[in-house]
Amino acid sequence: MRNVERLCLAHFWVAFAAFLVAAVLGTWQMWVRSPLGANVGTPGHYFMSVTAHGVSMAYVLTTFFIMGFGYFVAVTALDRPLPGKPLAWAAYWLGLLGVVLAVIPIATGHASVLFTFYPPLTGSPWFYIGLVLVVAASWVWCVLMMVAMTQWKRENPGKPVPLAMFATVANAVMWLWTTVGVAAELLFQVIPAALGLVQTIDVGLARTLFSWTLHAIVYFWLIPAYIAFYTLVPRAAGGRLYSDTMGRLTFILFLIYSLPVGMHHLLMDPEHGNATKFIQVLLTAFVSVPTLLTIFTITASFEIAGRLRGGKGVLGWIGALPWERPMVLAAGLAFVMLGFGGFGGIVNMGYGMNAMVHNTAWVTAHFHLIFGGSVVIMYFAIAYEIWPRLTGREHISLMPLRLQLWLWFIGMIVMTFPWHWLGLQGQWRRVANFNYADPIIAGWGPWVVVSLGGGVILLISALLFVWNLAALHRGPAVALARPLYALAVHPPQRVPAALNGFGFWNVLVLVLMVLAYGFPIAQFVIEPSPSAIVHRVQ
């Protein structure tokens, strides 16, 4: 394991501690918005909680998990020591300092601006500075990942980079591109406003820059799940990866198409014309391609495994799969949630349909199902898979692991299906409470209670998850010998340079970003729009 166990575990425990806090807050939020908890707490408390929930889940859980997993992949997939380990530790402490700096203003109510900021709202400057430090820490990680791959390629000329590392570096490269938007927004617009240096802010420009980040960031969170699909799941299922090339293509497509599409978050915004929105919606349609490739490839890999295990007939291989293994079970459940969430997302992507659901619980349901469902359940599975390698101990029983995964799946479905339904009925999002005395809103009450039930199941699952991991630290010590990464049916011997690096793709991303975002951003310079007064949350 090349001595990175403590580094990985330190990252994972920060991630999962934030996750646990956020799970408790999320359940509390659902309770106070339901008829059962109506009038508990003030809207101020609610938005403070939403901010903490969003920041913990979207920034802390993800960034620290992805960094920890990246370090793990870099040493296990490349089978060489991590370059710049002291830098990795420095980045860890920098990120942790950022989390502490951001949490203090949130907890004291000085940063209730939600994790997506919503200028002209501004909170305490420390909140933004803390988040910038978290991002800066992740930049160090990106550089280390690229250095690790470059050094390996130098030592192994002409050999294909192992898929897990190729995908991790794809994510690092994409993340560097992704964070340009939000970094520009924070450094040039929001932080000066929060510091009181400027009194007005161009909201249209701020939202445009954030949209640059807003879609690709979701793929930053998602790619570890896809890495697991391609490199861990086929092995756990007892088979082989159907196609290594398909995997490389998928991660390259994510790099290219997740960036110039963010304007589909601004379909209702007035600062852009229909033409630019159309172009980005068209590109958005292409984001479904890597996901469809993945579903095909992983299903084919599953079929290989099922047939190797004696599955017969058209569908018999499904039953023959080792569903008792957490990684296999999680992948199956993730696919179901990805299916529902993906169809919901296609509705959001359509200009006309989006107009009907734009500010409703439908959207909340969509991103909880995709991120909280498919992605986070794969984070669980990854943790279960690699924890024994990090601790040198083995799970005593897989039963509590499976129970936890099932509870997460059931909870997520029970929570988000009513949200979709309520969204179609017009239940708005980002509000602190509902007036259930209103006859129209009263009809939503029962469904809100059902979704609260889902939230409680999710909280139980979250607690069980942390318990399962903590218990492993006291499990019996074993020396694990089983291989981790799946082999491809045809292991690649040589691949074209385009499928073994990112130089060429970066040029293509640059061209795409200029075409997709050049005019939308330039228009704010050509003809500055009216600025909004900075509204300070105190």
Binding site: P43, G273, F278, I279, L283, V495, N500, F504
Partner: protein, 279 residues
Amino acid sequence: MAEDISPHVSEPHVLDRPWQVWSTVAVLGVVLSGILLGVLIIPIVQGRGAGLDAYTAICRALGLLPGSPAQPQPSDRTPPTPVSQVIWTPEVLQILARADVQRGYAKVQEVCVSCHGETGVSMSPDFPHLAGQSGAAIYKQLYDYRTGSRVHPLMTDIAKALDEPVIADVAAYYAGQPQRNPKPVTLAESPPEIVRLVELGDPRRNIPPCAACHRAGAGGPIETPVLAEQREEYIIQQLKIYASGQRHNDVYARMRTVASRLTDDEIAGLAAYYRAGFR
């Protein structure tokens, strides 16, 4: 492509060229067809249906001209007839933010005190209390008196004698005075139909809830006045002149629309409700 990358065929750099060429063609092909459709074809076709020439339709699609390429929207040149000259620009808000309370107090002592009281508590039912009123609300009304958007036999001339920073100073002074609650009553004493009107409005008559704007933090327009603890007689009088159209400085005719749909009993009930100090 799986065959292409077998070890016998070729060196990676030779294989690389088709990948680069074809992926560039594919990606740029998608973007360029998106640009062709989104910037040219769709706007031109939509514009034709809406009676717009191609150039206008394309400019609208790009956001260079206002409006949608699909709709023959009225041109901007229609002369506007604003009900108020107040525009909440950053500059105006800066003036409000920089108001000098001491200067405001001096002007209040000189001009306002006889009707509105030194601390904003008026002596006569004809004059509103100003203590604890929103500064933006006082500013807008004084400005409207100055420009003639709102007319009053006394206030019009008084406001015309004040310049803009002084208006802001006076507004800031009164806004800083504590509100009073001379006659507190409990919520239970208000008739339920009035509470309902405040909280829910009356959708059948298209009356929005008063609290949607007139509650602290409700997010109504910035000029929304605080109604809690206002003089009952003053509220009745204002709702009636809104209903008749005599007062018409409310943006989008919001208050004229609401007031004209209220019965006399409701107006009296709402005035009593707000006099009592519910926020």
